[in-house]
């Protein structure tokens, strides 16, 4: 099997808790027929409620799934079960050539990938005039949105933040909706983020002022857009919510490296699930963030599994501090890693400060810190380094105690997202193991 996964990692691919349970229940050899695998794929037939068994197949090269069941979840419980059995009961799989329905699917995938690549290579005729017109229209819409936001923010200041405590959610939502209409969804999201701050308890006015000030910097920057250098312009466009043509981006030259897949976090924003996967280049010493989105229980990328090494070429979205990236080309299959690169607390925070200097609107920054001890103090959770420097953690009690237990009171390496001056741990490396939290 080219990819080395643990049962935990397989279950982490499931779209929800019920899929974890169902996948586990189905991961019993007696419920399957024609189990087989080779270097590139695994397959099996699982008897469901229908007359014919479901045909389940996995592309092991890129960890892609296909099942004939009607489930709209992805990966479905049958796919999870098959991969789980491959990991836990590998001997139950015959090492034979795949059946036709697996070969067809794999070939289809390869053909589609080739066609896509070919399409990307072919220069499509672009209607430059129409494109320029569309860009100009959007620019005008965004400019009107930003101007309205400017006035709205100044109004808030004029009347005072204290009055915001009594404002309904719709006060923020109506401004956010207006910004969406003006094609500035990034700004809309930042405004929605402010909605609950006024009722967030002690120190709310500081938090809100911090957020409003940061948003106002975007307003100011946009008003001086033309005078800024190109990379900063890209950053501002990104914050406002301009999309980047990913097909065009894929044509650019990327950065080849051995990327440690250090951590992953899936968060739900209404009906949308957002998956953030953090990679660190071993040679280039740079971070990359791969974002994936799925509606409901739809498909999230399953090919990037934390705790593995990916030899690949990544292309980065343009900006003054490029960090968001796409996988342009994979060179080698993933191998598991037993550690990730980490630095001292001081160096990690310096890296953050440098990143802020390039991009003042960084919301989450990857921190990979070595030799810290998780502790509980004054009803809060902290990471304490050898200089007695303590970083606050955003964790619930359950995770906090887990971290303390995993450390056994000894220093461990912790990777997490740094946001609002607090660390949210995603992966830890203890003396004995690498654990995705």
């Amino acid at each position: 099997m080219p990819i080395s996964l643990t049962s935990e990692q397989v279950l982490a691919l499931a779209p929800d808790a019920s899929s974890v349970k169902s996948g586990k229940d189905l991961a019993s050899v007696r419920k399957w027929g024609n189990l087989g695998c080779n270097e590139d794929s695994a397959w099996g037939e699982c008897q469901g409620s229908g007359a014919l068994p479901y045909q389940v197949r996995i592309d092991l090269a890129e960890l892609a799934f296909k099942c004939t069941c009607p489930s709209r979840k992805f990966p479905c419980k049958h796919s999870i079960a098959l991969l789980l059995m491959l990991v836990e009961q590998n001997s139950a799989f015959g090492q034979n050539s795949p059946p036709a329905w697996v070969i067809e699917w794999l070939e289809g995938r390869r053909n589609r990938a080739e066609k896509k690549a070919k399409r990307e290579d072919e220069d499509k005729p672009v209607d430059a005039v129409a494109q320029a017109k569309r860009q100009e229209q959007r620019k005008n819409k965004v400019a009107s949105g930003v101007a309205e936001l400017d006035r709205w923010l100044q109004d808030i200041l004029r009347q005072g933040l204290a009055g915001l405590k009594a404002k309904p959610f719709s006060f923020w939502e109506s401004m956010a909706a207006r910004l969406v209409d003006c094609q500035a969804p990034g700004l809309a999201r930042l405004i929605r983020d402010c909605a609950g701050v006024a009722s967030s308890g002690e120190g709310w006015q500081h938090k809100l002022m911090d957020k409003l000030g940061t948003i106002y910097l975007i307003v100011e920057a946009y008003n001086r857009f033309e005078s800024l250098d190109e990379s900063m312009q890209e950053e501002i466009k990104s914050v406002i919510g301009f999309t980047t043509n990913q097909d065009e981006l894929m044509k650019t030259v990327g950065i080849k490296d051995k990327w440690e897949i250090v951590g992953q976090k899936v968060e739900r924003e209404d009906k949308l699930r957002v998956q953030r996967t953090w990679l660190f280049g071993r040679n280039t010493k740079r971070w990359a963030l791969i974002l994936n989105f799925a509606h409901g229980t739809g498909m999230l990328d399953t090919s990037l599994v934390p705790g593995h090494l990916l030899e690949a070429e990544l292309v980065f979205f343009p900006g003054s501090f490029p960090i968001r990236a796409l996988v342009r080309e994979r060179h080698e299959q993933c191998a598991s890693i037993d550690a990730f690169t980490a630095v001292s607390t001081e160096e990690a925070l310096q890296n953050y400060a440098r990143a802020l200097a390039s991009n003042p609107w960084i919301e989450r920054f990857p921190l990979s810190i070595e030799n810290v001890v998780p502790v509980r103090h004054a009803n809060r959770w902290w990471l304490l380094d050898h200089n007695e420097h303590a970083l606050k953690m955003t964790v619930d009690n359950s995770l906090g105690w887990q971290l303390i237990t995993l450390s056994r009171g000894e220093p461990i390496n912790v990777f997490g997202e740094w946001s609002d001056n607090e660390m949210r741990p995603l992966t830890v490396k203890t003396e004995a193991q690498l654990v995705s939290l």
Binding site: E8, L212, Y352, V375, A390, W401, T405
Partner: protein, 511 residues
């Protein structure tokens, strides 16, 4: 800087309509930047300048984040472990074990962990401590397998204090004594348990020192600790202090312990009384009744019935004596097997029933397998089976099911209606790891009952039993199940799913 920021926020809070623009002079590079922003005051509004300044100051604060310094020391590392962790079981499986198999597989698995000297994986320990915090019955199962790291962790969280004491016999007696003296109720019980293991004499001394000031529930908890490994060394304390306690609950618990300690003065007194009351005269077993309770009898817990001086009162006092005397005494005394003795009793109905139930209690109390089986298989079996339930050892449950099956022509199902199937109900009490011989005898009948019965109860019992079926026979039963018609999948699949899960979690202990 913080003063400037506070000034800024104060103005923003009240609103610029009612405030003057503050003078922001934080100094340094930030000061220069704010000066530049202020320099645009002629072309910009006050609000714009405040918002821009806030943005810059917020950024300045983020970039200059200085980690906090705590007024606390790092915890001492917890040290090495004596047992290997059963890491292979996987975190998600352990969560499923707690969430879905708490009452069935989990207790068996935790016992197996302890037996194989495997400890819980680090990451799962908080989950198990939380479980034991909420459900006290899990404490004796969880505490032995949390390892040194679990005890170290528990010492940091008062919710888990019940687990904070070392399992290690070598843990210092002073530390245990301190826990016993000053700890919360649960911790004191654990401390006494450990202290008895480390230094039984000292444990008894400490207990005597505090006894008079203890609450009833604490006294009963301490007596439960003594009951676990009571020896004749504990007898003076039990006889001279605990047995004469003011509270009935404490006295009752004490008589229970002393009854099992056959060398105790209490047990000997009860034996002497019993031998006076039940005698073999010729070929006949005769029974007489105790005289009025004297002071010593009252001290030993032999009390009058609600209506004194009646025949019920006399029987009541007889039962109180017979039920604590080992039934083997009668076999030895009369030189007869339990079956022969049971054949010989010829009293009126009330007396007979009372004596049989007293013997059933005694057989359970002293785990006398011969007497339990004889009683269970006798014509009084159905009448006293309920009496055994609280006393049965796992092996006895199996014996009872098998004896009931023998009486039923080897079958599990009787002609009774669905939920009153006595053998199935007895099988439900076999909620322990089945022995292989038992599983081999029961399984063919279980499969048969699935085929021949449409009883929902029978099907439900079968599904449930997957948790107790021996792992060693899993492949065998799976093969047998596959031979069944697919119509029975609804019954077979849940059984095998549970059994498969059990096999997985148990396999992790063998790696």
């Amino acid at each position: 800087m913080s003063t400037c920021w506070d000034d800024l926020v104060s103005i923003a809070l009240i609103g610029t309509d009612q405030q003057k623009m503050p003078e922001l002079k934080p100094g340094g590079q930030l000061g220069i930047l704010l000066d530049k922003i202020n320099a645009t005051a002629s072309s910009k509004s006050k609000e714009s300048i405040i918002l821009s300044s806030a943005g810059c100051m917020s950024l300045h604060q983020k970039a200059g984040t200085i980690p906090d310094r705590l007024n606390s020391k790092k915890p001492e590392p917890c040290g090495a472990e004596d047992w290997l962790s059963c890491e292979e079981v996987g975190h998600s499986r352990l969560k499923i074990l707690i969430e879905e198999h708490e009452r069935t597989i989990l207790p068996l698995w935790l016992n197996a962990c302890a037996a194989k000297k495997r400890r819980l994986p680090e990451r799962a320990i908080p989950l198990f401590l939380d479980l034991a915090k909420e459900k006290k019955e899990f404490r004796p199962l969880v505490c032995p397998v949390i390892g040194n790291v679990g005890r170290w962790l528990a010492a940091m969280n008062s919710d888990w204090s019940f687990a904070a004491i070392s399992n290690n016999v070598e843990s210092s007696v002073e530390h245990l004594e301190e826990s016993f003296e000053t700890g919360p109720a649960d911790e004191r019980v654990r401390a006494l348990e450990e202290l008895r293991r480390a230094n039984p004499e000292r444990a008894l001394t400490k207990l005597q020192e505090t006894w008079d000031s203890e609450t009833i529930s604490q006294k009963v908890s301490f007596l439960d600790v003594i009951a676990k490994n009571c020896t004749i060394e504990d007898e003076p304390f039990l006889e001279e202090i605990s047995l004469i306690d003011k509270r009935k609950e404490v006295r009752e618990r004490t008589t229970f312990i002393l009854s099992k300690l056959l060398e105790s003065r209490f047990a000997q007194r009860m034996l002497a009384r019993a031998l006076e009351l039940i005698k073999l005269e010729g070929k006949r077993i005769n029974m007489s009744f105790p005289k009025d309770s004297d002071k010593e009898m009252v001290r030993d817990g032999i009390v009058k019935a609600a209506q004194p001086e009646t025949i019920e009162d006399k029987i009541f006092r007889l039962v109180q004596i017979v039920k604590v005397v080992p039934p083997s005494v009668w076999s030895t005394q009369f030189r007869m097997s339990p079956e022969q003795i049971l054949e010989k009793i010829e009293f009126d109905d009330i007396q007979k029933r009372s004596l049989i139930r007293a013997w059933a209690s005694a057989a359970g109390l002293h785990s006398d397998k011969d007497w339990l089986l004889a009683l269970s298989n006798s014509k009084y079996g159905a009448f006293i089976r309920d009496k055994f339930e609280e006393f049965y050892e796992p092996g006895m449950h199996e014996e009872i099911v098998l004896s009931m099956m023998r009486d039923n022509g080897g079958k599990l199902l009787t002609s009774d209606v669905d939920y009153q199937q006595p053998i199935l109900n007895a099988l439900l009490r076999c909620n322990h790891e089945w022995s292989e011989p038992f599983a081999r005898k029961v399984m063919p009948q279980m499969l048969e009952s699935i085929k021949t019965s449409k009883s929902g109860h029978a099907h439900w019992v079968f599904k449930t039993m997957g948790a107790y079926f021996p792992v060693s026979l899993a492949n065998e039963i799976e093969t047998e199940c596959k031979k069944l018609n697919s119509d029975f999948r609804e019954v077979i699949d849940p059984f095998l799913t549970i059994l498969t899960f059990k096999c997985e979690v148990f396999a992790a202990l063998n790696n």
